[in-house]
């Protein structure tokens, strides 16, 4: 009985989390975050928790989930379905929290600048 109740609460909060997260992403869309080729998504320990949830045991798989997050966040922020034409590296830095750094290749930045006519 107790287990079923707590499992119910888990599902409840997961659902509410999705709604909250969706609103947060929309908020991010209204702000400017990118700066000279580096997009930093700081969600602190959320990333740690996500990694633990999937129970990734191997380092290489951590990178896979980071790339997945990168794709989802990118899609939400910029409405692009694919990352075609956006060669980039995703790394994790742990220092006073967790920062996901997505570093675009120089070619992407150069093209971006050219497009904006800078």
């Amino acid at each position: 009985m107790e287990t079923r109740f707590t499992r119910g609460k888990s599902a409840i909060l997961e659902r509410s989390l999705a709604k909250l997260f969706s609103e947060m992403v929309q908020y991010c869309q209204s702000q400017v975050y990118s700066a000279s080729g580096v997009l930093c998504v700081g969600l602190l320990d959320v990333l740690d928790v996500l990694v633990l949830r999937e129970e990734w045991k191997r380092e290489t798989k951590v990178l896979n989930i980071l790339l997945f997050i990168k794709v989802s966040v990118w899609r939400a922020l910029f409405g692009k379905d694919k990352l075609d034409g956006f060669p980039a590296k995703a790394t994790v830095h742990r220092h006073k929290g967790t920062t996901l750094m997505i570093k675009f290749d120089e070619a992407v930045i150069a093209r971006d600048k050219a497009l904006e006519g800078r």
Partner: protein, 190 residues
């Protein structure tokens, strides 16, 4: 900044899978909300602005949430504000936060009430630093209630009267019925 004394590092991986999953979602929810508030504190200059922004975001969530709520709860139209308050406390809060606040302190006119929250998943392990004494950390909830009720033609004023994060004994949301609204299309996200 806002501290989370997270339990993540302490024997987390030794827990049973079902317990671990519950704690995980709970912590994920709390941490995500904390990340939002932290980011808003960075983006806005003062606590009042952050409170307003939380209310606005809550409103945006609320205007969409009501449909989800009505679909999942199969609750029909409430007869009066008292019934509305009961539904909010016993059904809605349970459905979205897994808690059931108590409904008390009705005004004589029956247009104002208190929701007393024994616990609040948004604030688990949260401590407010001294330099944010005006921050209404859970203000998102006020916006959600306001937005959701507006979609069923009720204009309400919702605010926190007491907050355990700011040293009060309980967390109290005060909700006041303003007026019934004309049925029209929603204005859209603020």
């Amino acid at each position: 900044m806002i501290q989370h004394t997270s339990r993540l590092g302490k024997g987390y991986l030794t827990k049973k899978e079902s317990d671990a999953s519950d704690d995980l979602n709970s912590e994920l929810f709390t941490l995500t909300y904390g990340a939002l508030v932290t980011q808003l504190c960075k983006d806005y200059e003062n606590d009042e602005e952050v409170n307003k922004q939380l209310d606005k975001m809550g409103y945006n969530i609320g205007v969409r949430l009501i449909e989800d709520f009505l679909a999942r709860s199969s609750i029909g139209r409430c007869q009066d504000f008292r019934e509305t308050a009961d539904v909010i406390a016993k059904v809605a809060f349970k459905m979205y936060l897994g808690i059931t606040p108590s409904v008390t302190n009705w005004s004589p006119a029956g247009d104002e009430l208190s929701l007393i929250l024994e616990s609040n998943p948004l604030v688990d392990f949260v401590e407010l630093p001294d330099n944010h004494s005006s921050l209404v950390y859970s203000n998102l909830l006020c916006g959600v209630l306001r937005g959701a009720l507006e979609m069923v033609q009720m204009a309400v004023d919702v605010k926190f009267a007491q907050d355990t994060l700011r040293g009060d004994n309980v967390t109290e949301i005060r909700m006041k019925f303003i007026k019934r609204m004309e049925e029209n299309l929603p204005a859209g996200d603020e």
